[in-house]
């Protein structure tokens, strides 16, 4: 060792003194950290709100995996924003359990018969008139009037509206004819004039001054208006609940709105919406009954595990979420219809449903869900037929020698890239099966997981899906089930082959005519007939490969009654009827924390509890007729569906992250 490392004797004393200083410093340091711990953990030190401990039976805990982006009734990019917002806001119209529109704030639905819906076929315009119920109040006690609808329209048609002014197309204006009469004018014929769930009301007396203040400042005024806490965090609304506390990243506490007079006051006093990003942690919170209700977050695999948990009920709800494969159909090899058909015939979708989804997610045959009245039941169904697939490929000029790769006449092998969302285990399982099945035909298939951030904006919207690329993802079909030549949910600027002019789907003149006619046909049955015909063209042309329909997994604590999940419905629409039984048999500590020891969960003898009967009785009243208890955990069948809501609700977009993030 170097001599320089030996401390000189003369400095030993200094070392000792500094050693003492160091010890003191360390002591102070440790004590400070200990004090910090005490401060952090001590009540009142962390800035906690002075609220009472939630009373069992009165506070419902809902688990969500994403945090809402805003709670202002007319803004929100995420489905969770709509779910939480549905406790706070009540719109002009809603849809009932059988998906038919009904008046909430209005007295009567406009129809052609009652003269409130007027159509001018010559000019191609129409308007709908709504009369508001009298005596309804906002949370600040002011009356709900027609001016509030006109004000909401003013905000939503503004050039800086966060969803774009075009979001309200084809509405041309909303007028207050008098204090309680609203007229909605449409620029074109629109079949959903009496079922337009986009129509909202915003309390003008409260928000007008705030809006005008930001607007007068210029610049990005809508952003600044929305950034105001009174707007997006603690909105003044008209629903049965209002926001009491929003702790970013943790929870939103909703309490009863004392001014609510639209219906009976809710039985619940509080709703605690807990943000639990990790799905495994969410499943554990459900299993320990710390969370009473989740809707649409848990995976099928988790649902299967939770079915065994006493005190938890799992339901599978049909949804119009179509899992499909997007192809570039103007480019080889997918420009050949025979190739597209062969690829679909080579997929054992029934086998995938059986093996991976336990029969819960059936194969899809068009973009219209079998539960929708516009569904065409006589469509050709592509079954699993690898022999036929092989023959079609040979007809298309693709052949193979022995077990070699499939090649075209120029000797080029068929190479496909299966793209799906990274981190989604179920999708990876499905694409692995697709890979294996297509490889059996001699196709070379590579799997490329992509993050949702890449897949949607880059690969799909900006046309970076290369020829030979097959993107597997979920497509949320809007309730009206109409499609356009430009696309379904994808915007007009999207350059996917299947949606652009000149594609096989777009080139069919009859298809173009049907699209135009469907959007201009007021009569439901007539429009459904057009859509059924259009589905035949879809199945013939296969602009995308339909794979299967998703189901929504709903987990419910059996102490919760009154919540009946339906397709296309936001969570809180019927909250007035929900009831939560107090967990009387739980220990105080367990009640407070929600933690219950495994194996001694109260309610393990649930079959004898009255709520079970209530739920079953409720289920039995559904249109499908009686269901045996064994069918409780199966999908709501297509027979359950009578009608679908006919228009949009809050901004309701495909949620690229809900399965994965």
């Amino acid at each position: 060792m170097e001599a320089a490392n030996i401390p000189p004797r003369a400095r030993v004393g200094q070392d000792e003194r500094q050693g003492l200083k160091m010890s003191t410093a360390l002591l102070v340091f440790r004590f400070s950290l200990l004090a910090a711990f005490v401060c952090v953990a001590a009540p009142g030190c962390g800035g906690q709100a002075d609220l009472p401990v939630p009373e069992p039976g009165k506070t419902l805990v809902i688990g969500v995996s994403q945090e809402p982006d805003a709670l202002f009734g007319i803004v929100g990019n995420l489905m969770v924003s709509g779910d939480v917002g549905s406790f706070i806001w009540r719109p002009l119209l809603l849809i009932d359990s059988r998906r038919r529109p009904y008046c909430v704030l209005c007295t009567e639905l406009p129809t052609l018969e009652n003269g409130l819906w007027k159509v001018d076929y010559e000019k191609g315009v129409m308007d709908a008139t709504f009369h508001l119920r009298r005596g309804l109040e906002w949370a600040d006690g002011t009356e709900i009037t027609a001016r509030d609808a006109a004000f909401a329209w003013e905000l939503m048609s503004d050039g800086q509206y966060p969803h774009g002014a075009s979001y309200m197309e084809p509405i041309g204006g909303v007028q207050a004819l008098d204090s309680h009469t609203i007229r909605v004018s449409y620029k074109t014929l629109w079949p959903f004039g009496n079922a337009d769930l986009r129509l909202r009301l915003i309390p003008e007396s409260y928000y007008r001054p705030i809006w005008e203040q930001y607007r007068s400042e210029g610049g990005a005024y809508w952003d600044r208006f929305l950034a105001d806490e009174r707007v997006s965090v603690y909105p003044k609304a008209n629903g049965p609940f209002q926001v009491r506390e929003w702790v970013s990243g943790s929870h939103i506490l909703l309490v009863r709105n004392p001014a609510y007079n639209l219906g009976p006051p809710p039985n619940l006093e509080r709703i605690l919406v807990r943000v639990i990003p990790d799905l495994n942690a969410l499943a554990i919170a459900v299993s320990t009954r710390q969370v009473h209700l989740t809707d649409g977050w848990l995976t099928l695999e988790q649902a299967r595990e939770l079915e065994e948990s006493p005190g938890i009920e799992i339901r599978y709800v049909d949804s119009a979420w179509l899992e499909h494969a997007t192809l570039q159909i103007k480019h080889p090899p997918f420009d050949d219809l025979r190739v597209r058909r062969a690829l679909l015939l080579a997929i054992d979708r029934a086998g995938i449903n059986h093996a991976i989804f336990r029969g819960k997610q059936p194969p899809a045959h068009s973009w219209v869900h079998p539960g929708h009245p516009a569904h065409n039941p006589r469509l050709f169904r592509y079954g699993y037929d690898p022999g036929q697939a092989q023959r079609l490929l040979e007809q298309a000029g693709w052949s193979r020698e022995g077990d070699g790769p499939l090649r075209n006449a120029r000797g080029e092998p068929m190479r496909l890239t299966l793209i799906t969302i990274a981190g989604d285990r179920t999708r990876l399982q499905v694409v692995s099966v697709l890979q294996a099945l297509w490889q059996e035909l001699g196709i070379q298939v590579e799997i490329r997981p992509e993050s949702a951030r890449m897949l949607f904006p880059d690969t799909l919207q900006r046309q970076n899906l290369q020829p030979g690329g097959v993107a597997v993802w979920r497509w949320v079909i809007q309730p009206e089930a109409t499609v356009s030549a430009h696309g379904l949910w994808l915007p007009r600027g999207t350059n996917l082959d299947q949606l652009t002019e000149g594609s096989p789907w777009d080139a069919v003149q009859e298809n173009k005519d049907l699209i135009r006619q469907a959007l201009g046909t007021i009569d439901d049955e007539e429009r459904y007939g057009l859509l059924r015909r259009q589905q035949e063209i879809w199945v013939r042309e296969l602009p995308t490969l339909p794979l299967y329909w998703h189901v929504r997994v709903v987990s419910m604590d059996r102490r919760l009654t009154g919540y009946v999940p339906y397709p296309d419905q936001y969570l809180g629409w019927g909250v007035e009827n929900w009831r939560l039984e107090a967990a009387t048999s739980m220990s105080p500590r367990s009640v407070r924390s929600g933690v219950v020891r495994s194996g001694v969960v109260p309610g393990a003898d649930w079959d004898r509890r009255p709520e079970r009967r209530v739920l079953r009785a409720d289920w039995d009243r559904r249109p499908s007729g009686r269901r045996s208890p064994d069918q409780q955990n199966t999908n709501t069948t297509t027979d359950d569906h009578q009608t679908l809501p006919q228009t949009l609700n809050l901004p309701h977009q495909p949620d690229p992250c809900s399965d994965t993030c």
């Binding site: 490392n5 990005a220 990790d278 942690a281 554990i284 007009r492 407070r592 924390s593």
Partner: protein, 318 residues
């Protein structure tokens, strides 16, 4: 010393500036932009409408103009507006940062209190059964990914034993006392400190073993100093120098490493915020987070230098 600290503080300004330039540029070069959310939410939207809104928000300006606009806002204490949460960033960040610092601070404390004594003990009892056992525990700690150990801890303490809540922040149960709130901290702090404890323990052991082989320790023994004095004043003190460096440089990484822990334990900290801001092209939010991280790295580097001066008199800040 004050002048040295001031000089070093001023030196951090160009470093942080450079970091923000790089991060801003990288984010701009990545696919997508904040308008993607608009495009996804409105099927009626036209490319012209998107372009118009892009102009309103200044997103069509060259990158350097956007950067200097952001920098000028930050200089005025305005971190900007989160397009994801529709709120000013200053209304989101402080609460999240405080939660993350509480979590990482406690795990840091726990790691130091456990790792250093155990590392010393391991070095003192080199090649003993206890040393092998502790080494095994350390390797296990280093090898276990947080998302896995986190779920295991939840299963054990929440589901099986029912002692702790399975995640969340104490603010969801207002009115809790000290122990009630502390229960929410136990599991995430344990998991977060597990990895750093394991690695610091190994470093401490190695560092001490190296020091005790130095000649000056031999000299100290030869002159008849007591064993405790040799270990504490001469060996431990010198062995702590690299550990202090390590700890100081690990703290920012610890905050970054808390991302997974926070997600697993539903802890409302910076972790989820980073993920969401990047996934949703929320430039200003991401920039604010990286700015804070950059400042934290600079701050802890500075603290490490101060700690050197206390620990090693040969180092002078002049």
């Amino acid at each position: 010393m004050f002048r040295h600290l001031l000089r070093r503080s001023l030196q951090t300004i160009p470093v942080v500036f450079f970091v923000t330039v790089v991060v801003f540029t990288l984010m701009q070069l990545a696919p997508g932009d904040p308008m993607d959310m608009l495009v996804l939410s409105n099927p009626n939207v036209t490319p012209e409408e998107v372009e118009r809104l892009r102009a309103v928000y200044g997103l069509d300006d060259p990158i350097y103009i956007q950067y200097f606009r952001w920098l000028s806002q930050v200089a005025q204490g305005n971190l900007g507006y989160s397009r994801l949460y529709h709120r000013p960033i200053t209304s989101i960040l402080p609460q999240r940062l405080a939660n993350t610092l509480a979590l990482t601070g406690l795990s840091l404390l726990l790691s130091i209190l456990i790792a250093i004594p155990i590392g010393v003990y391991s070095a003192l009892r080199q090649y003993s059964v206890a040393d092998y056992l502790l080494s095994l525990v350390a390797f296990v700690g280093i090898s276990f990914p947080v998302f896995w150990s986190g779920i295991l801890v939840i299963l054990l303490f929440s589901v099986v034993l029912g002692w702790l809540p399975p995640g969340g922040h104490p603010s969801i149960e207002p009115g809790l006392g000290f122990w009630g709130q502390a229960r929410y901290y136990v599991a995430p702090v344990l998991v977060l400190s597990f990895f750093s404890t394991a690695s610091w323990m190994r470093y401490m052991r190695s560092s001490l073993l190296e020091v005790i082989r130095q000649d000056y320790i031999l000299t100290a023994r030869a002159k008849g100093l007591a064993g405790r004095v040799i270990w504490v004043r001469h060996a431990l003190r010198n062995a702590l120098i690299p550990i202090v460096t390590l700890i100081a440089l690990t703290i920012p990484a610890l905050i970054g490493g808390a991302v997974v822990t926070e997600i697993v334990f539903s802890w409302p900290g910076m972790g989820r915020l980073i993920f969401d801001s990047l996934m949703n092209n929320d430039y200003y939010l991401a920039m604010a987070i990286f700015l804070i991280f950059g400042l934290l790295v600079a701050l802890f580097n500075l603290l490490a230098e101060v700690a050197y001066a206390f620990l090693d008199p040969r180092i002078r800040m002049e």
